[in-house]
């Protein structure tokens, strides 16, 4: 993985009038990586993708692909290829013409184009008889594969995916997510995938870049993002989580209702640069267990159950601590239910499952 990055972005800024869409973004991506740009709408992820594709030019900063500076190079001349959110298949061309279009523009011999198109059709697991059909005669998932085929036939250095799965139903989405992962493994092209779905990003990507308000908040592997988020925004962006307001002093944490034999937290469970003062203690719901009398845990807390939800595979319990803070925990659905609404319960979680970080003031 080491070596010269395939994509190097340095301090890119982009304003639309007074609105700062990108506030100095830097990112480097290695050859063959699958990186996901994640964030809520308006966070700048699509804007960043457009700068990479060359549809827009940043106001300042630098961008290079495979060592070549790209600013000022038009989209048509960049070694990138985009899969659009709306797919953007040409409705007046057959599937074969759509897929072969990038090669036709490069004046490749028609016989070779036909051969390459067939190879792409095979790679995408599409039926051969689709070649003469028009995009609108295909289902959503098939159109998706055609769009991917068209983007990959010119063998781009970077495949840019602009939320191509967001318009699909859940079942098809899952199928195509698996497909994307398989494709990435088999072709070895670098993927830059934009999505607002952090779960999708965690499933697919080698590295995830979480953005908000035109800035990158955190870049890291799926586990880093999930278990060691940079702040409460990143932590709250995926699924349900517990964020307990605590006070840090020295290495020890304290909070109303929270008891521990040894309240010190090892440095690996503390966000870098967190000093004394108020902080948030994160513990994922599935890592909390109810304690029988006599059982001990690194941290324990007494709660009252307020709601019980069945989530299929798991059962989710919502509860309030004695300090009034909400706390969620989840147990496997098949296990014996430890409590009912209104019951008091002692919960425990080990030190290795917590993470301490500062709260982020909402922008």
């Amino acid at each position: 993985m080491a070596g010269e990055p395939i994509l190097e972005i340095r301090d890119i800024r982009k304003n639309f009038g007074a609105y700062q869409a990108l506030k100095g973004v830097s990112l480097s991506v290695q050859q063959g990586e699958f990186i996901a740009l994640v964030g809520p709408s308006g966070c700048g992820k699509t804007t960043l993708l457009k700068q990479i594709a060359g549809f827009e030019e940043p106001d300042s900063g630098s961008l290079s692909i495979a060592g070549q500076p790209m600013l000022g190079v038009p989209a048509a001349a960049r070694p990138t290829s985009m899969v659009f959110q709306k797919l953007a298949l040409f409705p007046h061309m057959t599937v074969a013409d759509n897929i072969g279009f990038p090669l036709k523009l490069r004046k490749v011999d028609p016989a070779i184009i036909a051969k390459r198109v067939e190879a792409m059709i095979e790679l995408m697991q599409l039926k051969r008889e689709y070649l003469t059909r028009y995009p609108r005669q295909l289902s959503g998932g098939e159109q998706q594969r055609v769009a991917l085929a068209r983007s990959m036939i010119s063998e781009p250095k970077l495949l840019l995916l602009d939320e191509p799965l967001s318009a699909l139903d859940v079942k098809l989405k899952k199928v195509l997510q698996a497909e994307l992962k398989r494709l990435h493994r088999s072709v070895g092209v670098t993927f830059v995938h934009v999505t607002h779905d952090l779960e999708e990003a965690i499933m697919l990507a080698d590295r995830i870049c979480v953005m908000r308000s035109g800035e990158i908040l955190q870049v890291g592997g799926p586990n880093d993002i999930y278990y060691r988020p940079a702040d409460s925004f990143v932590a709250g962006f995926i699924g349900d989580t517990n964020l307990l307001a605590v006070t840090v002093k020295g290495n020890a944490v304290s909070a109303p209702g929270l008891t521990a034999a040894d309240p010190t937290v090892p440095a690996q469970y503390v966000a870098p640069g967190l000093g004394d003062g108020p902080a948030l203690l994160m513990v994922r719901p599935e890592l909390i267990t109810p304690l029988e009398s006599g059982q001990v845990a690194d941290f324990t807390i007494d709660v009252t159950i307020t709601e019980i939800f069945c989530k299929g595979g798991t059962v989710q319990f919502r509860s309030n601590t004695e300090g009034g803070a909400p706390l969620i925990f989840e147990l496997p659905g098949a296990s014996k239910q430890p409590a009912d609404i209104g019951d008091k319960l002692r919960l425990g979680f080990p030190k290795r499952d917590i993470y301490l970080f500062r709260e982020r003031v909402a922008a």
């Binding site: 989209a75 048509a76 007046h92 061309m93 279009f101 028009y134």
Partner: protein, 290 residues
Amino acid sequence: MNGEIDRSWRDPELLVKALPSVILQTAFFLAPLLMTVALTFQRTKNFQLTWTWSLDTWTDIFTKPHYWTILGHTLFMAITCVILCLVIAFPVAYALATRLRAFQDHVKVLITFAFLTDATLKTFGWVLFLDKNGAANYLLQQVGFPPATIDILFTDWATMLGMVYNLLSFAIFTIYLSIDAIDRSLILAAYDAGASKFRTFWEVTLPLARPGIWAASVLIFLLAVGVFLEPKVLGGGKSPMSAELIRQTFETRVNWPLGAALTLVLMTVAVFVVLLFNRVYSLKRHMGPV
């Protein structure tokens, strides 16, 4: 396309549902048309219609080249008008839908005003403008041109100018809508695939605007075949076109059978031209099945 439609004809429920529409079409379209056809087989005597069946009118039409010269001239003017309208309207519509997005609303309002102003008014306006002593020549003279530089009033040139002017907005709006409906990401996808701006226009924008161009052509052709105001007011009635001939036949000569026959000939030829164009268009089309 097959199967369902075949069955629907035999479906009594659907026939009942279609009945109101069938009655309306029959009463207001088919019946007058049949009356027109019947009219052509009658005679006139002393400006009076006499109800006697004969083929006189049709013999007259098919033996006198005069009518066919006028019809040929009408078709020539109409097709020229279509071409000129497309050539002028396409760049305007393209600019409106792409480059001038910021103030396209203002431009649209201006075009709409020009469009909504009564055609008679506009046509007479052109007379005042094009007259030997009119506004255009006055202005040209003021900047040093000899008197009466523009001398096209009461010629086919003036007729064509009036026709193009009166019908242009139909073309602009129809083509504008078809270009405006093109998904912006299709253009970006073409750039992304490596196409130049010209290539993108040629491979994506133009083929996708084709239905609009086609609709504008048919619309303008059918309207242009029926103009009588422009040839009369701007052309001075010197080389009348079919619609004016039909009007004269009905009103001045009070020869209803001949007028009806000329109408049918014009209608048939116009429909034939449209079908012919449709055939050529669909042979060369790049669109998939709609």
